[in-house]
Symmetry: C2
Subunit: 244 residues, 2 copies
Amino acid sequence: MAASSDRVPRRIPEATVARLPLYLRSLLEVAEAKTATISSERLAEMAGVNAAKVRKDLSYLGSYGTRGVGYDVEYLLYQISRELGLTQDWPVAIVGLGNLGRALANYRGFLARGFHVVALVDSDPGKVGTFIGDLEVRHVEEMPLITREHRVAIGIIATPASVAQEVTDLLVDSGVGSILNFAPVVLTVPPHVSVRKVDLSIELQILSFYQQRQAGTVPLEQPVPVAVAGGNGAPPAGGRLAPI
Amino acid sequence: MAASSDRVPRRIPEATVARLPLYLRSLLEVAEAKTATISSERLAEMAGVNAAKVRKDLSYLGSYGTRGVGYDVEYLLYQISRELGLTQDWPVAIVGLGNLGRALANYRGFLARGFHVVALVDSDPGKVGTFIGDLEVRHVEEMPLITREHRVAIGIIATPASVAQEVTDLLVDSGVGSILNFAPVVLTVPPHVSVRKVDLSIELQILSFYQQRQAGTVPLEQPVPVAVAGGNGAPPAGGRLAPI
DNA sequence: GCATGTGAATAGATTCACAGCG
DNA sequence: CGCTGTGAATCTATTCACATGC
């Protein structure tokens, strides 16, 4: 009764959550350059969105800006990091060490700031026991013990599609609350578990759709007599003019 | 005047376009099992969405179902493929052959149905001239010629962030209309070019956000006395109960 | 009868436009 | 005066619910 406090648990829209990492990245870059404050306009430009969106998004976190001035870079960095849960460390397990899994395991770079690979898992006896970096590949049967032991929070699935659901169930049963899925299947999980997917062929197919729409519109080779300014076919990202 | 026809260029919502590949995949699976027709309900279940959405999405393509029966699997497969532009072949170039680029180049599998890697490009003299599969890695300076020659439509950027924009500009200048970006930067492109991004650290950070929200809610280890059915924290995907 | 197709209702996200405040 | 913060307006997407037609 005492601890529940009067803090309103701000509901941050999903779309906003998905953009916070972009702001974070831009701010890191700005901080590097020893800039102390930044306007919503500049931040928007860097993140590839518009200024109104930046202000609305940041307003969900609180009133962290100063009118007439902008946002304090360091302070905003900290607030966004905290909101995203990056002030703590998340133990990560990678399951499946084929081409992709190995590439991810070797990366390490991408894990910067809060993510720490603590376990590599595969079912192939030829891979189990080998080392990638300083981590030994363990057998999938040991996974439940390993994930519990290391309190793994995030599981990265880089297995073939055929076993992805099976592996997911194992992860979920051993307390993993977040799944990043690279396998081309729709995973089913209980409501308290989050899933994000990264699906190459889906992305390519979406590009194919817009590419097809575009085909014919721009005659290729012909430097186009400008007039494209309306721009319609590239909604996913980007869309401003190239630097002059 | 004769060729422009009276076809209404149906505006397909972006969100629908992003789901078509999911339906396609489900239909392929169903077709494999020699099933002739499928209901929106079943298709929805397989694609992990709800039935109303499936019907609405498919209705944008045309009236391809039969009331009281469902959709003809083969026919729908064809219509979706055509809509997505998968009835033609798209030449793809991969730029950057580090861990990730090589994993992608070795994949080939993911390219199934319409995507064909025709060029591998890197700037590292140690990599140029080597072969991955049956393709030789070419120097980035030759890229404009190669992409034009092969009429590359889609460029996959797997370079370090620092050179991604530069490489993008080259691709765009040589007529590439779609970019799949794995580098952690916001790319700027002219309006007629589409960009999709795949960003590991962003995905992890989004998961971190929801994981943090969830933490405490589920005490970990305690098998939770059911009552979670409301489910709030996993909007990205999934969300149904695990199979019994 | 049964599952599609679709207007209407609702929810969510984006953008506008300006009041508020340093 | 300049830039944030935010209600209001708009646009987009989802869901409902039922008429429609095989």
